[in-house]
Amino acid sequence: MTAVYPSLRTHPADDPSCPALWDALREVTDPEIPISVVDMGLIVDLKQRDGVVNVKLTFTALGCPAMDFIMDDIRERLLREPGVRSVRIEVVWDPVWSKERLSEEGIELMRTWGISA
């Protein structure tokens, strides 16, 4: 069981799921493993309204040492998207992260790096 997240490959650009923003975040990788925060399943929700993007973000562990780096990278990347004026990130722990949140690409990448998924 894997998760599927919005993308311009599968959704029209004006889809309310904001596929362009999800694709933008596919360029933001975990500092420890070269896997995107989307494919890792860290993005729980993403909404855009009037130039403000609200991101609900989770982490694999409460003690994740890279939290601040990841949030900075997400903010910086989304601000480069046309029409995005500000980014609000809310860290949430529900749903609890599990391997089921990995995308198909995420699982493949993890296996490439010798991590069971």
């Binding site: 562990a61 409460l62 003690g63 949430v92 529900d94 609890v96």
Partner: protein, 271 residues
């Protein structure tokens, strides 16, 4: 989630328990850290490092909740670990671990007790606690497996190794059982009545004993607990030392404690 003065929660009981949980997690993490470079096996050192990160992470996610409470206004310095001077962790954690068996006992007994609390908070009416509780319970499954594995390993080694484990368990036992509070503890009782946890302190203690005693019994390690056939619950066999209980900090005064103004027996080594 950060609180504003207008939206602050006014709940002294929840504030006190969150502070105690955060302080215990923080102190455990700091004690564990030493063993990331001193555990008896490479695998154990790696695990100690990972658990250090987890415990500090649990503390890091709990401390910010304190800001949301009206009680934080009394002394704002006390809500951040960097400026906090109050120490509401168990007195056992005041000193460095005497050996690896103290690490194992802390992971098995104390961390296990806190996990019993978080298990009881997974449907908490206080959403930030509910969310964190579920994640902590998930992460603690690995700690529990590590703790139980090492308790078995040290117990079966026999001789001085087994004796060191038993000694560590005994030194931590009463204070851990007391952490849940007396049966009529107004703080934990309030959390139960408010729907923040799903059981009063006596029930939490009983659940906890149900978790730890079978493993210890299987290893012929006797701890002072008895099974009550009538209620079908594990209970402490002896009265707990409530005369040494400090309700505010949820810890026991060390047995060697002397009244303020007199020197403590031995220097404290704060984490």
């Amino acid at each position: 989630m950060t609180g504003t003065a207008a939206a602050r929660i006014d709940n002294a009981a929840l504030f006190a328990v969150l502070a105690s949980l955060a302080d215990n997690k923080q102190a455990m993490g700091r004690r564990y850290a030493y063993w990331a470079n001193g555990a008896p096996a490479l695998e154990a050192a790696v695990a100690a490092a990972a658990m250090t990160q987890d415990e500090i992470g649990h503390a890091r996610t709990l401390y910010p909740l304190l800001e949301d409470f009206a009680q934080a206004a009394t002394d704002p310095r006390q809500v951040a670990p960097e400026t906090r001077t109050l120490r509401y962790h168990l007195a056992f954690l005041d000193r460095e671990f005497a050996g690896w068996s103290d690490f194992v006992a802390t992971n098995f007994l104390l961390d296990g007790a806190l996990t019993t609390f978080f298990e009881a908070a997974q449907h908490s009416a206080y959403e930030p606690l509910r969310q964190r509780a579920r994640k902590i319970v998930q992460e603690e499954q690995v700690h529990r497996a590590h703790a139980e594995g090492w308790v078995r390993r040290l117990a079966r080694a026999g001789g001085a190794v087994r004796q060191a484990l038993v000694s560590s368990l005994q030194r931590l036992w009463e204070e851990t059982l007391c952490w849940f509070g007396p049966d009529d503890d107004p703080v934990m009782g309030q959390l139960y009545r408010d729907g923040f946890i799903d059981a009063p302190p006596a029930e939490l203690r009983s659940r906890y004993l149900q978790h730890v005693i079978p493993l210890l019994e299987g290893l012929a390690i006797e701890m002072p607990a008895r099974f009550d056939p009538e209620s079908k619950r594990w209970l402490p066999k002896q009265a707990l030392p409530w005369e040494r209980w400090e309700a505010d900090s949820r810890r026991l005064r060390p047995a060697s404690y002397q009244a303020p103004g007199q020197a403590l027996a031995g220097g404290e080594d704060q984490p």
